[in-house]
Symmetry: C2
Subunit: 330 residues, 2 copies
């Protein structure tokens, strides 16, 4: 008996490969014509739909050695679902294109599909189409759609001086998990941080809840709190003043302190500079009863000659934190 090599995507024809994983993908509650035709047909009961797209590249956004195919599928789905939630919408449907190096095991691809399904299925979100190509580097491109259920979308541009800045979700934990994986110095008690990096769990319902509560602006934090807050401020023609994390999110700082000390860094850097937790950053008129799960981080203020639109102050200083992800420079 000879040992059988694990089949790779190059061992199957394109049609056979597709047929092997389509049954692993969920059909959504708005799916009218599922994957398999020239296009899928999706219900848009609102008469509008939201659409967002993200691309993940092996070696840049994930490393095969760091987790399973299901982890990659989960994260690809969740970071896109968070973009829909950040408009105040409910996600309905996604399509997924992939570039696969020919030696990719079929089992990895199937595991990836299971991760997509674990993320989307419970939400009633369909995986309603996709495309595959061979290539040198593994790439995942997800496009996600959502329904506004009759509400106005919550844009980045609506924050007004006097509004409260609030956040729902984790801060700094994905960055800490990433730092542990990158350092190779992970230990037993670090696994929850690594899981928060590999399997982000944004509070997706916080997006529509913020919209219902009257949020004036919202976005998801994907590239780091300071960098994303600066984008929201710039689009709103305002500045944001954030309280120091030790005051606004002391539990988050405390939970990262041990690992930060071991990696010889400051947990505040992860909280202010790290991305990929995909929490919801939103602004509300002063006095709004914030939806469950939101924590006040600061206030919106008027731009000035000293502090032009887009400035983010921490305490009363411009923080000396390196910015979050820049995919062409980092």
């Amino acid at each position: 008996m000879t040992a059988q090599a694990e089949p790779t995507v190059a061992d199957l024809g394109e049609d056979e490969l597709i047929a092997s994983f389509v049954p692993l993908l969920p059909r959504g509650r708005t799916t009218l014509v599922p994957t398999g035709d020239d296009a899928a047909v999706i219900a848009a009961p609102d008469g509008r739909f939201c659409v967002s797209t993200d691309v993940l590249v092996e070696g840049h956004h994930f490393r095969l050695a760091w987790g399973t195919g299901a982890d990659v599928g989960w994260r690809a789905a969740m970071q896109n679902l968070a973009d829909i939630a950040a408009m105040g919408a409910e996600p309905t449907s996604m399509v997924v294109s992939m570039v696969l190096p020919p030696p990719t095991p079929v089992s990895w691809l199937h595991d990836f599909c299971r991760g997509l399904s674990e993320a989307c299925g419970p939400l009633g979100v369909g995986v309603d189409g996709g495309d595959l190509s061979a290539g040198e580097q593994l790439v995942v491109a997800v496009t996600v759609h959502g329904d506004l259920a009759g509400r106005d979308p919550v844009l980045r541009s609506g924050a007004r001086p006097g509004d409260v800045v609030a956040h729902s979700g984790l801060l700094g934990r994905a960055a800490a998990g990433h730092a542990l994986l990158a350092s190779g110095r992970r230990g037993g008690s670090d696994e929850t941080l690594i899981r928060d990096f590999l399997r982000p769990r944004p509070a997706l319902s916080a997006g529509p809840a913020a919209a219902r509560a009257g949020a004036t602006a919202m976005m998801d934090v994907s590239d780091g709190l300071l960098r994303d807050a600066g984008r929201l401020a710039r689009r709103s023609g305002a500045i944001l003043t954030l309280d120091p994390p030790a005051a606004s999110v002391p539990d988050a700082v405390a939970a990262l302190a041990g690992v930060a000390a071991r990696l010889e860094t400051d947990p505040t850097m992860w909280i202010l500079g790290g991305g990929e937790d995909h929490g919801m950053l939103a602004t509300f008129p002063a006095g709004t009863a914030l939806p469950e799960g939101f924590t006040v981080l600061g206030r919106v203020a008027a731009a000035s000659a000293e502090h032009p639109a887009g400035t983010v102050l921490v305490g009363d200083a411009v923080p000396a934190v390196r910015p979050g992800w820049d995919h062409f420079r980092s």
Copy 2:
């Protein structure tokens, strides 16, 4: 004075890069919230939308040396727009993700955006979002949306024995253009074929026209006539019998004969086996007045023990033509 090197995408930050090309992209007639927020918002007047996605990889689907960035942008758009037309829908909106090697010139990216715009702008289709990442290999992932204007989608599965098989658009010309580029043996009079490969011009209006005329099944020909016809037949539980190209499309055969002779191949192979012209392959009940531009290629017949569902006969034989593109095997 030193010569200035052409700026690459690595020379600009991600935000600066995006700001540099967004003004080149068209806003669509259904765009409610354009690119720049967490998601775009698109009108879906029909209460449904069609969605399809395709990925193009440098070295597999295009080569930088073969054409301009605008050619790549045009083709990426058109092959997606054709998928929407093949449902009988009108395209409305697309989002485009890209993986760019850091040495990619900014001017190439801008040229790519102009190609997208040339394809989408005149149709009122918006380029309403996207994402960029660095990576080793240039990848373009397009997701396109369309509106059915109250019609039923025309699926691949509706062909019935007795229906007429018809096609609108070019056949074999993109394959001939590709063969010329791959052979390096192009000459002056071959430029129209190369242009048909680099800049496919599917008759997008033929899709909705076929739907209005009562097409029972439809798809766009992207992977080769025989392979795609086989998919339509299989999904319909039927077989297709096509007339020999010399009888059904004699002008197309004649127009390719010279180049085929020079490259020592048979033009019929390009017509039956070549893909990427993105014409509309549709079936209609016998006696239907075909929309302008459609040519009869054959008939739908019942499957049998000898010829199971999915069989495509040319004349009365199963043709010995190598199948079209298989991205993991070709």
